[in-house]
């Protein structure tokens, strides 16, 4: 089960390393009402990570797991997630997030069209390919 799983604030973000806004220290940020609610729910006693949690997250991560590894993964994750609760000792309600440092030094380059990797080179390392593309198993269900 997922304690707090019914809370609709969070979203699965597929690109956390490229967040939509890059905030650095000293820049103000908006705090959503969800943040406040999340602080309340995470102040509750430490949750336990179950087998079901591990299997659910593994599905999200497209990671099949050997049955024999699930229990030990649940124990490890429970221990680590328990440890990181330590961050809740800190009041960060007025602290902006840091998603990247040194962005102010990041230069821009001219937006020029340049050739990419040639097709035969791009396909050279593919485990399975056709004449003009990567070959994958069927993923559209037939009606």
């Amino acid at each position: 089960m997922h304690p707090g799983g019914a809370v609709g604030c969070g979203k699965l973000r597929s690109e956390p390393s490229l967040p939509p806004t890059q905030t650095t220290a000293g820049t103000s940020t908006t705090v959503s009402p969800c943040d406040t609610f999340q602080r309340l729910i995470t102040a509750a006693p430490v949750m336990a990570i179950t087998r079901d949690d591990v299997l659910h997250v593994a599905t999200l991560a497209r990671l099949e797991l050997d049955e024999s590894s699930v229990d030990s993964l649940a124990r490890d994750l429970d221990k680590i997630v328990g440890y990181v609760q330590k961050l809740n000792e800190l009041d960060t309600s007025d602290v902006p997030p840091t998603s990247q440092v040194a962005v102010e030094a990041a230069p821009q380059r001219p937006d020029e069209v340049k050739p990419g990797v040639p097709r035969d080179q791009a396909l050279a390392e593919a485990p399975r390919s056709t004449d003009d593309g990567f070959r994958v198993p069927a993923f559209v269900e037939e009606t």
Partner: protein, 505 residues
């Protein structure tokens, strides 16, 4: 430094000069390096090497020099490259089975990159010879080099012990004289910690100092490539070569590359040092503490001010890091899906999702799976703000600790690692204990500042009083893009300490 063990100089500058002026040759230095790799294969430091490739580059360079052309700032210098960096002429496998190529797994086999990483191209342009790919923790996830699919690397000081990680193969390549220099990558301490545990110099440049193009991404907001060498000046020269703007990586900063090698001659004069109390508390091995305190005494005796500073959020570094780094990794490693490169596991009749799941199960080792699951968990619905958002805010507090400290002092002095090298197998079943190995290196990574580990002595392990002398490193931290100051301090301290001294609790 003694050059008695080999006929060519071991410092990068001296070797490049000897190759340029004809006192030595690239072929000679590369031949010695390849022989050392073979002789010390038991250390398992190099996973992919190819004598003919390396020798062909060496002979071509020697021919250029014979024609009177400049060989470059790294002329004939053999360099080992962490296997997370793309190279066109060697496999790139990140210590993982998932970069298996055409069903063949093992040394010499694996994914072939279509281009060189920018840092590799820059080394080659200055005459360096790539002598092989260095073993590493799988996808740089580990602090002991035990998560590599190619097996652990052994510490040359005591082969029953770990070399540190994740750049363990790079550290051992230098420590065991397989090469005078290596490149590693540091996400949370992966250059500095193995450098300390193997008794070599390791530099984690400021975030943005060095291009990440061609570095297989672990945590993109933290990853930096840096040099590992015998001495500080050699590291400075290599960093000068690999630094700077790169059209292929927008996070590679425009900030001018400094005169790092020249800065090594400046000395310590005028520098104020800070000692963060939080880095000297419980958990620090008493003998390691003695070694670092000895550095502090010598710095004071040289006439420098040393002030205590407080960095109250240090204790939150491990928790912050393991949320942010795993979150970023879970996204970055989604590219390993069996479609475009690497391993593919596909049962008869399997659909796309089943192929993804089976490929990733077969290709990733236990620690990588653990981190992908943790990262996916902290980003998943209902938990994103509580974990990922929270950790991003604490990251700001950790940055502020450094900003406030650097308003008072020029350079921070800390231990690099809380303990000397532990035994192989000691922590493999306890991920949290393993994560604590990086407690002193993680905060600087989160802040994106410059750091270096310099050898400062040796200690006996607490569980092996009669055993080998194990290296200890002192970590010096400077503000972002403060590399010149960092090299001045590091070279000054290197000259003050005896890296072979034995310290006892």
């Amino acid at each position: 430094m003694s050059d008695s063990q080999s006929s060519t100089p071991r410092s990068v500058a001296a070797l490049a000069e000897a190759v340029q002026n004809g006192a030595s040759s690239a072929e000679q230095s590369v031949s010695e390096s390849l022989a050392a790799i073979r002789d010390k294969a038991n250390l398992n430091a190099i996973v992919h090497s190819d004598d003919e490739t390396a020798l062909a580059f060496a002979r071509a360079l020697d021919e250029r020099i014979r024609q009177g052309k400049p060989g470059g700032r790294l002329a004939g210098v053999p360099i080992a490259i962490k296997d997370a960096l793309a190279t066109v002429d060697y496999p790139t496998t990140c210590g993982s089975k998932i970069l298996t190529r055409r069903g063949e797994f093992g040394p010499g086999h694996g994914w072939r990159a279509p281009y060189d990483a920018t840092v590799v191209a820059r080394l080659r342009a200055e005459g360096a010879i790539i002598i092989g790919k260095a073993n590493m923790d799988e996808f740089a996830m580990g602090s002991s080099n035990e998560t590599s699919a190619y097996g652990p690397v052994r510490n040359p000081a005591d082969e029953s012990r770990i070399p540190g990680g994740s750049s363990g193969g790079s550290a051992v390549a230098v420590a065991a004289d397989l090469a005078p220099a290596a490149l590693g990558s540091d996400t949370g301490g992966s250059i500095r910690q193995p450098a300390a545990l193997c008794g070599v110099v390791g530099v984690k440049p400021s975030y943005g100092r060095v291009s990440r193009y061609g570095l297989v991404a672990f945590a993109s907001s933290l990853d930096q490539v840096g040099p590992m060498t015998r001495d500080v000046r050699s590291a400075a020269r290599v960093l000068e070569v690999i630094s700077g703007r790169d059209a292929h990586d927008s996070t590679a900063a425009d900030t001018p590359v400094g005169a790092y090698e020249a800065a090594c001659e400046r000395g310590l004069e005028g520098l104020t040092f800070g000692l963060p109390e939080e880095y000297f508390e419980q958990g620090l091995d008493p003998a390691v503490r003695k070694a670092v305190e000895d550095v502090v005494e010598r710095v004071k005796a040289a006439g420098n001010a040393v002030k205590p500073v407080r960095m109250p959020h240090t204790h939150y570094g491990v928790a912050t890091y393991y949320i942010l780094a795993t979150a970023e990794a879970s996204s970055n490693l989604s590219r390993f899906d069996g479609v475009r490169y690497g391993l593919r596991v596909e049962e008869q009749g399997a659909d796309l999702k089943e192929m993804y799941g089976a490929t990733r199960n077969a290709g990733f080792g236990p620690e990588v799976k653990r981190r992908i699951l943790l990262g996916t968990y902290v980003l998943s619905a209902g938990y994103y703000d509580a974990y990922y958002g929270k950790a991003q805010r604490v990251r700001t507090l950790i940055r502020r600790d450094f900003d406030e400290a650097f308003a008072e002092v020029d350079v921070l002095i800390t231990p690099t690692s809380p303990t000397p090298a532990f035994r192989l197998g000691d922590r493999v079943d306890d991920p949290l204990a393993m994560y604590m190995a990086d407690v002193y290196t993680l905060p600087a990574s989160l802040a994106g500042i410059a750091g270096i580990s310099v050898p400062c002595g040796t200690v006996r392990a607490r569980d092996d009083a009669g055993g080998a002398a194990l290296p200890v490193g002192v970590q010096l931290l400077c503000p972002g893009f403060g590399e010149e100051r960092m090299f001045a301090a590091a070279a000054g301290i290197e000259a003050l300490v005896d890296r072979n001294a034995v310290f006892q609790a």
